[in-house]
């Protein structure tokens, strides 16, 4: 009797919901599956089913000085961008949320504007500006350009946290005798940290995968990985491209996991 009662009637809506989710997952993950097959297949072109398994493309990737230099430059750039965007984006978010600034909405739109412009135009404009002021294309110029694109991500996520922030906790700390610096460092900062660092993760990934802005701003012998891969693809479309993509995906995933372990991004997800 209980089994009959517990048997739930067929729910068409739920089935459609699950099917849609399944289809979305396949849509999102299928390209990664293709990259994996291409990276491990011995032949130098995409073929399915694969004829075997090899690590030769990974060997080629790790043995190539161009690839390795580009990988390290991309990691270095993305790490700098992470730090800078956290500092700038976090400070901007606090100022916009707490500063009672005139034209707050306009200022927010202004800081978010790099996301609204096509990145290729941002890259071209910065390229021209750098050349006009005579600084050429230094690596720090590339880092600043990536930071410009990445700051809005930190700003957005931090503003979201601040929007849900209970100011009474800060007031309680102040009433109990904490000075403003102590309130900020021991109350405000820990509470907004998940939002800031979640934005930082986005900033890292956006910088690490950045192509349109980098296209104009990299200089010879100092090219980022996406640019090197694009140029490589024009002449040698083989599994090394897929191996590089796998490494990129794994590195980005590692950063996300490391930050999750260090600061607990789940807290932000729960907001």
């Amino acid at each position: 009797m209980s089994a009959a009662l517990n048997k739930r009637p067929f729910d068409g809506g739920r089935a459609a919901y699950l099917a849609l989710n399944g289809a979305l997952l396949v849509f999102l993950l299928a390209p990664i599956a293709i990259v994996v097959v291409f990276a491990l297949n011995p032949v130098p072109y995409i073929s399915f089913p694969p004829i075997g398994v090899t690590l030769r493309w990974f060997e080629k990737f790790f043995a190539g000085s161009d690839f390795m230099n580009a990988l390290w430059l991309s990691l270095w750039t993305a790490s700098c961008v992470l730090v800078l965007s956290i500092l700038i984006g976090g400070a901007c978010a606090l100022a916009l949320d707490r500063g009672n600034l005139p034209g707050r909405a306009v200022a927010t739109s202004f800081f978010m504007s790099p996301l609204m412009l096509p990145a290729i135009l941002t890259g071209l404009a910065l390229f021209q500006s750098y050349l006009l002021i005579g600084i050429g294309r230094p690596v720090w110029g590339l880092i600043l350009a990536h930071t410009l694109i990445a700051v809005p991500y930190v700003l957005r996520t931090t503003l979201a946290v601040l929007h849900n922030f209970d100011r009474r906790i800060e007031e309680a700390a102040a009433v109990l005798g904490a000075n403003p610096t102590r309130v900020f460092s021991e109350v405000t900062l820990p509470l907004i940290r998940p939002g800031v660092f979640a934005g930082g993760v986005f900033a890292f990934i956006v910088s690490f995968d950045q192509f349109p802005v980098s296209l104009f701003l990299v200089q010879p012998k100092a090219e980022t990985l996406p640019v090197v891969l694009f140029n490589y693809m024009k002449f040698d479309l083989d599994g090394a491209i897929a191996a590089a993509s796998m490494v990129s995906i794994l590195l980005a995933l590692s950063v996300v996991l490391a930050l999750e372990r260090l600061i607990g991004l789940k807290a932000y997800v729960k907001l």
Binding site: F127, K234, D236
Partner: protein, 347 residues
């Protein structure tokens, strides 16, 4: 006898003189030549041997940009201080650049002595700057699919090849643009007969389209494409690798895909730029690159090894088969052509 004091004074004098002279000496020794160049095997050879030898001989450094797009970057840089001194591209982009005054019209024997030894096509009125190599655009095909070696461009329209013939996204690929012009010649009144070309292009549907020649190579290797438009070096580079692909130069002629070097008029190191072009035209340098990437050298005095000589365009009779597109004419109509072919090949 030299006293300790006078020795110190003399030494200090030399040191001061050396310090004062150092910047100019350093400047003279570290002139930088900014060039564009290809990646892939070409880039590997350039980085490993060709450029280091040039740097050593001319006591300079070469900053070689391999990151596309070259023309927009040159266009965006100040005209009086261009991003590049030597501009290496295919011919179509040189024509766009010269129209804006970004590169020189012609390179003559006065500036580059080795120009005296090049085939006429390398300095023809269809070329801005100088062509240092060319490859031939024809048909690549699979030898294991029962296909006869193509003898005409019309062979690509064989109904048996429906869905397994390959071409390019014409707005972004100069081989695709050459193919379109060739269709005008084969099916109409000449290279500029666009109506005939459009009609013939539409008849090639279904056709697989790619952006880059590297993709076409892989599609031929994988068998996804049985016959496609490609340059000879894109097939010959697999020589000796037991791949079932070959190249055919159709009887109507092959299109020239020139590797053109040019100098920017406001280059601060113009003499060095000319010296670089002269160096690239030297027979020994031409041989290394020609045999490395299967490009036909422009210098008539180059003696290639037999297997390269047999296939590449290395005699007056052979180079006479090369058809050079009129890129000035094409570029003037490019927007209209792009819109038309995109509409034709949509889907």
């Amino acid at each position: 006898m030299i006293s300790r004091r006078s020795a110190l004074r003399t030494g200090a004098g030399f040191a001061a003189a050396a310090t004062l002279a150092a910047p100019s000496i350093l400047h003279a020794q570290t002139k930088t030549l900014k060039i564009t160049t290809w990646g892939g095997k070409w880039g590997d050879i350039m980085k490993a041997t060709v450029l280091p030898a040039f740097e050593k001989e001319f006591k300079c450094t070469v900053s070689a940009d391999q990151s596309f797009p070259f023309l927009p970057k040159l266009q965006a840089s100040p005209k009086n201080d261009p991003l590049y001194d030597v501009f290496h591209t295919n011919s179509n982009e040189q024509w766009s650049a010269v129209g804006e005054g970004l590169v020189m019209d012609k390179i003559t024997v006065k500036e580059v002595p080795n120009v005296a030894d090049v085939y006429p096509y390398a300095v023809s009125d269809k070329v801005v700057g100088i062509s240092i190599f060319t490859s031939a655009i024809g048909l690549g095909y699979r030898t294991d699919k029962g296909l006869a070696k193509p003898t005409s461009w019309k062979d690509l329209a064989d109904p048996k090849l429906a869905g397994s013939r390959g071409g390019y996204i014409i707005p972004v690929n100069s081989l695709g643009q050459c193919h379109l012009m060739m269709l005008g010649k084969v099916y109409g009144k000449g290279l500029q007969d666009l109506d005939a070309a459009y009609k013939a292009l539409e008849a090639l549907k279904p056709i697989k389209l790619v952006d880059f020649t590297g993709q076409m190579e892989k599609m031929l290797l994988s068998g996804e494409v049985s016959m496609g438009v490609i340059h000879d070096s894109g097939i010959y580079r697999y020589d000796g690798q037991n791949q079932p692909v070959d190249f055919a130069g159709p009887s109507e002629g092959v299109m020239a895909l020139e590797q053109v070097l040019n100098v920017t008029p406001s280059s601060k190191v113009k003499e060095l730029a000319f010296a670089y072009i002269d160096y690239m035209l030297r027979p020994d340098v031409q041989k290394v690159l020609a045999e490395g990437v299967w490009y036909s050298p422009s210098n008539k005095k180059v003696k290639l090894d037999a297997k390269y000589d047999a296939k590449l365009y290395t005699t007056e009779a052979k180079v006479a088969q090369l058809i050079q597109p009129d890129w000035k004419w094409y570029n003037a109509r490019k927007e209209d052509i792009d819109a038309r072919v995109t509409k034709l090949l949509k889907g």
